[in-house]
Each structure stands twice: as structure tokens, then as C-alpha cells.
């Protein structure tokens, strides 16, 4: 919160919160922030990049968004706030998914190839 972090940060309530990767999207839902880490900031050869997270305004991690597949390299590409507790996001594996903003759990998904 000192603002002197050398890593990526987001600005919240006049202060800064350190985050693990550069943010591509930050959604302010009041008590929590939805952060989409830039998918290009980490491209693993093995495993996935769970790059959609919710954090408190103080920076504590609340959840990492569930991914719809177990495919190597899968991650989120976009996210938007579509309803009170609902997020809509798109994945590299060509799914559009609806997530519960309070838990990060997938509520519905559609394959768009």
C-alpha cells in the first residue's frame, strides 16, 4: 500500500494494491474488485493461467475464477460485469462463460469455437 512496489499495481481509494501480473481489466464492484491479468503476461507450456481473480479493496485474494476446461494454456481473455452478481468472460478455449462474481464459480458456458 506504500505505492513503492516494483511490480504491477492497481490504484484503489487513493492507494495502490500490488498484483501478481499486469492487469488488462479491473472492474470495481464495490466491496471487491475483479481483475483480469493480461493473458500475454504469462504463457505457460504446461498448466493453465488462472488469470481472473477477485480481491478485496485491501488487496486480499478472494477467489481465482474457475476455467471451463483443463486444456493446457487455457485462460481468460475478456471479462465484463453483466448483472449484480454475474460476470461474463471469454476463454482461449473458445468458451463464453457466466461466473458468479462472489465465488468465481462457473454458472453457465457456451462453446463458440
Amino acid at each position: 500500500m506504500s505505492g513503492t512496489s516494483e511490480g504491477p499495481v492497481i490504484y484503489v481509494d487513493g492507494g495502490t494494491v500490488a498484483i501478481s501480473y499486469p492487469a488488462k481489466v479491473v472492474l470495481d464492484l464495490g466491496v471487491l474488485l475483479i481483475v483480469l491479468f493480461d493473458p500475454d503476461s504469462f504463457i505457460p507450456k504446461v498448466g493453465q493461467f488462472r488469470n481472473l481473480v477477485a480481491i478485496r479493496r485491501t488487496g486480499e485474494l478472494l477467489w481465482e475464477g474457475q476455467l471451463p476446461t483443463s486444456t493446457t494454456g487455457d485462460c481468460y481473455l475478456t471479462v465484463e460485469h453483466v448483472d449484480k452478481d454475474r460476470l461474463r468472460a471469454r476463454t482461449f478455449s473458445s468458451f463464453v462463460v457466466d461466473l458468479d462474481a462472489l465465488t468465481g464459480r462457473i454458472e453457465g458456458k457456451e462453446f463458440v469455437k
Binding site: V31, L32, P39, D40, I43, P44, K45, F49, A54, R56, E60, L62, W63, Q66, P68, T69, T71, T72, G73, D74, C75, L77, T78, R90, F92, S93, S94, V96, D100, L102, T103, G104, R105, K109, E110, F111, V112, K113
Partner: protein, 225 residues
């Protein structure tokens, strides 16, 4: 002789009367008072080890406290009915000793079956995986702002309708745009023939990215319809 008899009697008395009898498991459990800091002693009637799981794992979702809303745990495992039927002790994710066979067997329950596949498997033979040796150009069709994705073609389809039919695209993808995708050397791909899906016949050669590539590799979309 008398001395020998006396010694014998003394030894018998020592072993039978003076020394404590060895404990059995049951008597030890009964004689030792329960220690509040130790694991509970398993019941002698249910036959279940305390290491068996009989309920569900529950995370206390921290967001509940923040938002005052009851939230189902994000990751939970439903209780599993044991082999003896409803209400019987469950053996969840644990191997147990089957009394009838006296061998280690997996729980004979249905709930541990694999879930249904999450994707439409419309990849038909020949299916081949390979790694690109040089930078390659592929093509991709999409609708809306879905400008990045893992399914490509080796050549541009003749038309949007041809792409929808031949690639068996789902309704959300009408192939309104086409873009070039620059796949870098060293990328794993899988080629296959699109099979029938989403009421479309399929039949075109398609490539699935098995490695993620940078979003900058996806070129600008051009209207295709």
C-alpha cells in the same frame, strides 16, 4: 529339589499374579482416559476408521462475511453413499478393506463416475498432432468481438456459409469476420476433420492450438459475410 520347586512356584506366581496382563486393543481403549488433544477413538460398533470421510469438504467462503450473503462453497464434494446403502458410512476418495474379499478395493459407488465431457468433440480422423518448425500463417473466422481463439484453418474458407457448414460452427459463430493468425515456430497444433455438430455437416480440415500463443498473433478481422 525343594529349592527347584520353590523357584518354580515363585516364577509362576510372578507371571500369573504379580505382573500385569498384556493389554488388548479394546481394554487399552477402555482403560485410557480420552485425551482432549488426540483423535477420537473409533466406535467399536460402526467399524469405520476415523480416516474415512463421511461428509463433504466445505470451504468457508470468505466473501460471505464481506457481503452478508450466503454463498455455496466454491469447491465442495458431495457426500457419497457407502456400499452398504443410504445412511451407511461412506468411504469417499479412500480405499477400504472389503470384508467379503479381504482385498483392497475401490468404493463401489456411482457418484465417483467421470463427469460428462465439457466440449463438443467434433474432431474426426485423421487426427494428428505436430509442432510447427517455422512461423506459419493460419486463418480464423469469428463473430462479434471474439477476436482470439484456439481453432484455426490452414486456408481461408470459400465463404462464411462454407465455414459455418464445413467447420461445424456453433450458432454463436456465424463467421462474420476472418483474420490471419501468425503461429510462431515451436507451437503444438492438432489437425483433424470437423465432424457433424450443431446441425452442421463438417468436413473441413481444422487446426486446434494446443499451446497458447500471444494475442498479438491474431490479426485484424475483415468482414467475411
Amino acid at each position: 529339589m525343594t529349592t527347584v520347586r520353590r523357584l518354580t512356584v515363585l516364577l509362576v506366581w510372578l507371571f500369573v499374579v504379580a505382573l500385569p496382563a498384556p493389554h488388548t486393543g479394546a481394554s487399552a481403549a477402555e482403560s485410557v482416559p480420552s485425551d482432549p488433544g488426540s483423535l477420537a477413538t473409533p466406535s467399536s460398533t460402526d467399524g469405520v476408521s476415523p480416516l474415512d470421510f463421511a461428509g463433504s469438504f466445505v470451504y468457508d467462503a470468505p466473501v460471505d462475511a464481506v457481503l452478508g450473503r450466503t454463498v455455496e462453497p466454491a469447491y465442495s464434494v458431495a457426500p457419497v453413499v457407502g456400499p452398504e446403502g443410504a445412511g451407511a458410512p461412506a468411504a469417499l476418495l479412500s480405499w477400504h478393506l472389503d470384508d467379503s474379499t479381504r482385498s483392497l478395493v475401490a468404493p463401489r459407488t456411482g457418484p465417483l463416475e467421470l463427469a460428462n465431457p465439457t466440449t463438443v468433440n467434433n474432431a474426426g480422423s485423421p487426427i494428428r498432432s505436430f509442432v510447427t518448425e517455422t512461423d506459419m500463417t493460419y486463418y480464423r473466422v469469428y463473430s462479434g468481438d471474439n477476436t482470439v481463439g484456439g481453432y484455426l484453418t490452414g486456408a481461408p474458407p470459400f465463404s462464411a456459409d462454407d465455414a459455418v457448414a464445413g467447420l461445424a460452427l456453433p450458432p454463436a459463430n456465424r463467421a462474420d469476420f476472418i483474420q490471419q493468425v501468425n503461429v510462431p515456430a515451436g507451437t503444438r497444433l492438432q489437425s483433424s476433420i470437423a465432424t457433424e455438430a450443431f446441425d452442421q455437416p463438417g468436413g473441413l480440415l481444422q487446426f486446434e492450438l494446443l499451446d497458447r500463443i500471444p494475442t498479438s498473433a491474431f490479426g485484424e478481422g475483415k468482414p467475411f459475410r
